[in-house]
């Protein structure tokens, strides 16, 4: 929906994890975007792999022609579901190409966790580990006095990435929370158990197992789980195949991003051992990987076996071949582990299907219980989240436990809604140049509080404010050089002294009497006092922040009274 926002006016894009950068080439290559994109290194590398796999799978089956008539609303209406329900079909685009991917990725600025990046001096952004995937980040956007946390796709579970950095999210004025688990009722541990049980059961019955998946992410955890499980389940002789144009790179990349891994895996690197056990699976020939089903794979292929391949939507990639190959036998099983697709929709074109289908969505992102723990821990002043998270899922309207519950209630937003975040910028930080600071003479007006007046020039550039020494008064025109415009600084007028302190009325009256005013009357008012000199027809109004002497046309008297008042006040 590019019309919502003119992307060419966007200065910065912050990427949370590799799953949410798949549309990046469309932005960087088609919209006139000239800003900067920030992401961590694993995000870029693995994101590249995902895009590469996507492009590869699409380009492998080039279409001779493309149809567009059906996008006409009148025609689309007549199509079967889910096509007829698809929205904004006119906006659908062809897949990008590898050169576009490379161009897009070249615009990304790499950052590390906790690195502080200044954006135009206005704010500082910092990526923090979000615990969800290699290099996945939450972002802190802060100025000197305000802090906004953007938490998206985070996990508190112990899987392969570095654990989520919660501590740095504390003291946020606003916490924007999104990317929670898609399947809040499915506990990932239970699902992994389910995955293993179904896999073992199928293989023991002589069937094959197909796991449609992305080439990176949960697959690392699944392989690790299987590594521990296959021997105990008596599956040591069953081959595991991982087929993807980027299979090799994905398996190898995962082993080199040590600093982005969880503590356990990091320590292995120093032993030195590969952090992930899939290295051993490969070494012992239990796990084999191929770029595609053609070539070596067709020679090595043995059944029964377990195949991991993409794409999880079942619409393209090598998974399509396996669906067709194995779909007719009830011995085989397809196990869906990626939570982002409806498995029923994915399977629809393959029906009728004899093979068993098991849905074990493994989504390690935060669930609602974890969210409430996180919010208790982090205690942001305000939480902002998509509207969906503020009510139970539509299919399970009785599950009031499946929504964000916090105090104050979260601010919710809908698609294409513009929100005003609930805070006001009230202060700016200003620096004082050392020379200027040297010239200040603070005066203690109360114990512990000193004041000094500053006369300086406020210099503002890139949202940074600096107080500099005022320029010296211009020398009498000794030089004949022309004054440059930039030197034309404002003239400084001599400053009147500032007054501080309060006037104790009783003492003031006594002083007046000493100075010969005998008929002093004091009246209390709401804001202070009025001292009345009846004979002189003069009023002295003393209030908290002002004092007025009102007398008609008697300047000497006014000056006399003023001096008496000033005796009680400090000047600086």
């Amino acid at each position: 929906q590019t019309e919502l926002l003119d992307l060419s006016t966007v200065d910065v894009i912050l990427i949370s994890n590799y799953h949410c950068m798949m549309a990046l080439p469309y932005i960087t290559e088609y919209t006139g975007f000239t800003g900067t994109v920030y992401a961590t290194e694993p995000t870029v590398q693995i994101g590249r792999l995902l895009m590469e796999e996507l492009v590869n799978s699409i380009e492998r089956v080039p279409k001779a022609q493309s149809a567009s008539m059906w996008k006409n609303k009148e025609v689309q209406r007549l199509l079967p579901a889910p096509l007829k329900d698809a929205v904004e079909v006119s906006m659908w685009r062809k897949c990008y190409t590898m050169p576009e991917v490379n161009a897009a990725l070249s615009k990304i600025q790499l950052v590390g966790y906790s690195q502080k990046i200044e954006l135009f001096g206005a704010v500082q952004v910092t990526p923090l580990s979000s615990g969800y995937a290699l290099g996945s980040s939450n972002w802190i956007i802060q100025s000197h006095y305000e802090k906004v946390s953007y938490v998206s796709g985070s996990s508190l579970l112990t899987t392969h990435p570095q654990p989520m950095d919660q501590a740095s999210l504390k003291n946020s004025d606003v916490l924007i929370l999104t990317g929670l688990t898609q399947i809040p009722t499915a506990n990932p541990d239970g699902m992994v158990g389910e995955f293993c049980s179904n896999l073992a059961m199928t293989v023991r019955n002589g069937g094959n197992v197909l796991v449609p998946c992305y080439p990176s992410g949960v697959i690392y955890d699944l392989l690790e789980c299987l590594y521990q499980y296959i021997d105990s389940a008596g599956l040591s002789n069953v081959p595991f195949y991982f087929i993807s144009p980027v299979a090799n790179s994905s398996l190898e990349f995962s082993q080199i991003f040590a600093e982005w891994l969880c503590h356990n895996k990091q320590t292995k690197v120093y032993l030195p051992e590969p952090p992930f056990p899939h290295a051993e699976l490969i070494q012992t020939n239990k796990l084999k990987h191929y770029p595609s089903i053609h070539g070596d794979f067709s020679n090595d292929f043995k059944q029964p076996c377990v195949v991991f391949t993409g794409h999880p939507s079942l619409r393209f990639g090598d998974v399509v071949h396996f669906m067709e190959l194995w779909g007719k036998s009830s011995l085989n099983t397809v196990i869906f582990t990626e939570p982002d697709f409806s498995y029923l929709d994915a399977l629809a074109p393959y029906q009728p299907l004899a093979m068993k289908c098991v849905y074990c969505p493994i989504d390690t992102r935060l669930n609602f219980i974890q969210v409430s723990k996180l919010l208790k821990e982090v205690q942001p002043l305000h939480v902002v989240c998509p509207e969906q998270y503020t009510q139970p899922p539509p299919t399970q309207s009785h599950r009031t436990d499946l929504m964000i519950d916090c105090q104050p209630p979260p601010m919710s937003y809908r698609r294409a809604e513009v929100l005003t975040l609930p805070y006001k910028r009230r202060y700016e930080k200003i620096e004082i140049m050392p020379e200027l600071a040297d010239s200040l003479v603070p005066l203690e007006i109360k114990p512990g509080i000193s004041l000094a007046t500053v006369s300086a020039v406020l210099h503002t550039k890139d949202n940074k404010h600096v107080l500099q020494l005022p320029p010296k008064p211009p020398q009498p025109a000794a030089s004949k050089k022309r004054k440059r415009v930039s030197d034309d600084v404002p003239e400084c007028k001599p400053l009147k002294p500032l007054l501080s302190g309060s006037i104790p009325v009783d003492q003031f009256v006594q002083t007046l009497e000493k100075h010969g005013f005998s008929d002093v009357k004091v009246e209390d008012t709401a804001k202070g006092h009025i001292v009345l000199l009846q004979e002189a027809e003069t009023l002295i109004q003393i209030e908290e922040d002002s004092t007025h002497i009102i007398c008609d046309n008697d300047e000497p008297l006014r000056v006399k009274l003023r001096d008496l008042v000033l005796k009680f006040l400090q000047k600086f």
Binding site: T185, A186, N187, G190, M191, V192, G193, E194, C196, S197, N198, A200, M201, R204, N205, C225, Q228, Y229, D231, S232, A233, G234, C360, Q396, S397, H398, R399, T400, D401
Partner: protein
């Protein structure tokens, strides 16, 4: 007391009273007190103290110490109490003025050492031991001891406080029962002086505004009514009933939580439960006024009573079922549920608010569920529970917990929100569900019940412990289902449910979590045990993948799982290999393979559990006569015992002996030897032929070397079992009159060997390297030698030796006294060294 002991005692007393000695350890002192208790129990005379003046001297010298240690002082107080338990010895100690100095005002109770809880505890215990006669009672009452005890009821040490309370109960009972001449009645209530003092104190504290005083008195009354069932308790009660009743209605005093126990103890007493009158009215009022959490235990206690007015019983049931009613109401549409209870005893809002609060919901439900389980575990219930509603309630709770139920009411959604994934409630509910399966009357819901159970079995979110409980409940209800389908011929439903169960079991057997695999196997074993005679069950099981997956688990990496798999496979064999019409199932294991596999586990498994499981399965097979079809049982047994005789795990060796025992009795039975002593005696000729035959079988199977070797086993139970078996065999082969005299056999070569065997056996577990290869002249496979061995070796003596506890030598009082002296002695030696 033996002479040796009376000689040792003075030195022991001196050592104990010596402040320079390190305190003897508490166990020794306790044992010493036990010994004195034994000595005095049946001897009321004063001879013990008269003959052993060292005892009174000991007490006097401890009292004379300027700063006695707390443990010795406590010991002295308790010893004096034990001694003073009889009137004669009491008088003796009184003459010496020891009791006053120990228990009176000027004794330890006013010294600094009283701060030590062990001294206070010794004081209370001493008084309690002494309190068996009137002089003791008067001694204490007149000396102001009652005040001390009342104060000690509030002691910071709970032991002291509770002992003080018990002591008061004891004194009150003693006073009333020993000092009353005519029966007490409400009109003429003439309490003996001591009882009067105690009762006055109770009444005063009940009327006081101090919660702790009221609590102490209620505790005292609770244990009084719990222990004393005499009619005078009613007289006491009538004096305080009004006051206690007021605790229920007045909220100023927080004593309600104590009342349930008090009323329950009273309800058990025939004095109160028979009355028509005010007591039951008070119980009714308590059920109304106590909070649901407080009233629960009272209600369940009342429901266990057989003597109880019906209306009170119904009311108790209502209290117990209130949370259930509330849950059922919350789960249904407003007009759909008519309500379970005719009327509520207390305000239903209270229960509702407890159930809708996160902190109290789970605990109230768990308490209710625990009470229901307690009631269901009773064989005969004095009251009928509404079983159908109860089942519906359990199903509702379970569905709330897994989020499968969408409640229509706001209360329902609050409860559902609290209960989702609450394992504690799930476990309790499943326990009650299992217990409920044995009660008839809720069969209409059985179909939907299995829907709930299967949802739990299938859900990956079910935690391993909850799954285990689900398996337990499912197995019980499957048995019930089977019974039902027998009576109403609804085979289809049963078959469908069984299929679903096996389908999910199949998956659970492949679980990566070993606890799940383990409880799945246990579940399978239970099912086979209960249902193996049912055709549908056998067919469903054998047509599923379960048998094959079970056999796979014999190689599981987790030893517990292997053990459970062994048991399951062993039971599975009853319906596969050993069944009369054994169905063929195509898999890699046939019965020979299975036996071989189990034998391999028995000989090679590195963990004990699987080996234990194998030996117990083999015994089970043998007992059921399955091994006969399998191969020559003799060879089977022989092979097994040769495997287990060197097993490192004693339980496996013990299991081996059990197998041998079964084998022996079966062989002897089969060959016609009368096992039962009352069976008609067969003629001498046939009997000796059979004897020969069975003896030969036992020798060939190498039973005797295993049995005799086990007699020297370093683990006692093994030796005992082996001895029992040998004694049994001897009984079979030798009628009592024909036992040989061991003296006359030494001449023959076999006799030498037997003599050696006898000597070796006497060494017991100290015998090293028990050779079974005949190297010492004993041929364990020679029937004649073994017959001789059985006849000559004194098995009774061995039996006696083996049955003695390991500390039988050290247990005597004499050795105790010597021990105490020895600890003192070492000090003297050390002191000498210092010089």
């Amino acid at each position: 007391m033996t002479r040796e002991c009376s000689l040792l005692l003075p030195r022991v007393c001196a050592a104990l009273a010596d402040p320079r000695q390190p305190g003897s350890d508490d166990t020794c002192l306790e044992k010493l007190l036990d010994w004195f208790r034994d000595l005095t129990q049946f001897d009321p005379t004063a001879s013990l103290v008269q003959d052993n003046p060292c005892l009174t001297e000991f007490i006097a010298s401890v009292l004379a110490l300027p700063e006695p240690s707390a443990s010795i002082l406590s010991f002295t107080l308790r010893l004096a109490g034990i001694l003073a338990a009889s009137e004669n010895r009491f008088q003796h100690l009184q003459q010496e003025k020891l009791l006053v100095r120990l228990f009176g005002r000027d004794g330890p109770l006013n010294s600094a050492v009283w701060e030590d809880a062990s001294v206070r505890s010794g004081w209370v215990e001493g008084v309690h031991s002494m309190m068996h006669h009137q002089p003791a009672l008067h001694f204490l009452c007149n000396g102001g001891g009652i005040d001390v005890i009342f104060t000690l009821q509030g002691d910071p040490s709970l032991f002291v406080a509770s002992a003080a309370s018990q002591l008061l109960v004891h004194m009150l009972t003693l006073s009333v029962e020993s000092e009353t001449t005519k029966p007490l009645s409400t009109k003429d209530c003439d309490w003996p002086a001591c009882a009067q003092m105690i009762i006055k104190r109770i009444e005063d504290s009940l009327q006081s505004s101090s919660a702790s005083h009221i609590e102490q008195s209620l505790k005292l009354l609770t244990s009084l009514f719990g222990s004393c069932r005499a009619t005078w308790t009613e007289v006491l009660w009538l004096g305080i009933a009004k006051q206690i009743e007021s605790f229920l209605t007045e909220e100023t005093v927080q004593a309600q939580h104590m009342l349930a126990n008090l009323l329950l103890n009273m309800a058990w007493s025939p004095v109160f439960c028979d009355t028509e009158g005010s007591f039951w009215a008070l119980v009714t009022s308590a059920l109304e006024h106590l909070t649901p959490v407080q009233a629960g235990p009272l209600a369940v206690g009342i429901l266990r009573l057989y003597k109880c007015p019906q209306d009170v019983r119904i009311q108790a049931l209502t209290v117990l079922l209130q949370p259930m009613d509330c849950i059922l109401r919350a789960a249904s549409q407003p007009l759909e549920y008519a309500g379970l209870l005719d009327e509520s005893v207390s305000d239903p809002i209270t229960v509702e608010s407890l159930l809708s609060s996160k902190s109290s919901c789970a605990s109230l439900l768990c308490q209710t569920l625990a009470h229901l389980e307690e009631l269901l575990s009773l064989i005969r219930l004095p009251v009928d529970l509404p079983y159908t509603s109860l089942l519906r309630f359990l199903m509702t709770i379970l569905q709330f917990c897994n989020g499968f139920l969408s409640p229509a009411s706001p209360l329902g959604s609050t409860i559902s929100r609290i209960l989702i994934n609450c394992f504690r409630v799930q476990r309790s509910a499943l326990d009650v569900l299992a217990a409920l399966s044995e009660r008839k009357g809720c069969d209409t819901l059985i179909g939907s019940l299995f829907d709930v159970l299967l949802a739990y079995l299938e859900s990956p979110n079910t935690s391993p412990t909850v799954l285990k409980k689900t398996f337990q409940a499912t197995s019980k209800w499957l048995v019930r289902l089977q019974e039902l389908s027998c009576s109403n011929s609804q085979w289809q439903q049963t078959e469908k449910i069984l299929q679903d169960v096996f389908l999910v079991l199949q998956k659970r057997l492949c679980s990566p979590c070993w606890e799940v695999r383990d409880s799945s196997l246990e579940f399978l074993t239970v099912l086979i045990k209960c249902l193996r005679d049912q055709d549908e069950f056998r067919q469903s099981l054998l047509s599923s993948e379960v048998p094959r997956l079970t056999e796979n688990l014999l190689e599981d990496p987790e030893s517990y799982v292997r053990a459970s798999a062994v048991t399951a496979v062993g039971h599975l064999a009853f319906i596969t290999y050993f069944a009369p019409e054994s169905p063929v199932i195509g898999n890699q294991y046939n019965k020979e393979n299975t036996v071989a596999k189990l034998q391999e586990i028995l000989s090679t498994d590195p963990e004990g559990f699987p080996r234990r499981a194998v030996i117990s399965i083999f015994t089970k097979w043998l007992r059921q006569g399955c091994t006969g079809q399998l191969e020559d049982t003799e060879k089977f047994v022989s092979r097994v015992i040769q495997t287990v005789e060197h097993d490192l795990d004693w339980e496996v060796r013990l299991g081996g002996l059990e197998l041998v025992e079964v084998f022996c009795s079966q062989t002897i039975c089969q060959l016609g030897l009368p096992k039962c002593p009352y069976a008609p005696v067969s003629s001498a000729v046939t009997s000796s032929i059979h004897q020969n035959e069975s003896l030969q079988i036992f020798c060939r199977a190498k039973l005797f070397s295993f049995l005799f070797q086990s007699l020297c086993d370093c683990d006692k139970p093994v030796g005992q079992r082996a001895c029992d078996i040998l004694l049994g065999l001897r009984g079979n082969f030798y009628p009592i009159s024909t036992l040989k005299d061991s003296q006359g056999t030494e001449d023959s070569p076999a006799g030498h060997g037997i003599a050696w065997l006898q000597r070796t056996l006497r060494q017991g577990s100290l015998a090293q390297n028990f050779p079974t290869d005949g190297g010492n002249g004993v041929d364990f496979q020679d029937p004649e030698s073994m017959m001789l061995a059985l006849g000559t070796i004194d098995l009774e003596e061995l039996h006696g030796e083996l049955n003695k506890s390991s500390d039988h030598v050290e247990k005597s009082p004499q050795s105790l006294l010597q021990d105490i002296l020895a600890t003192g002695g070492t000090i003297e030696e050390n002191e000498a060294d210092c010089y």
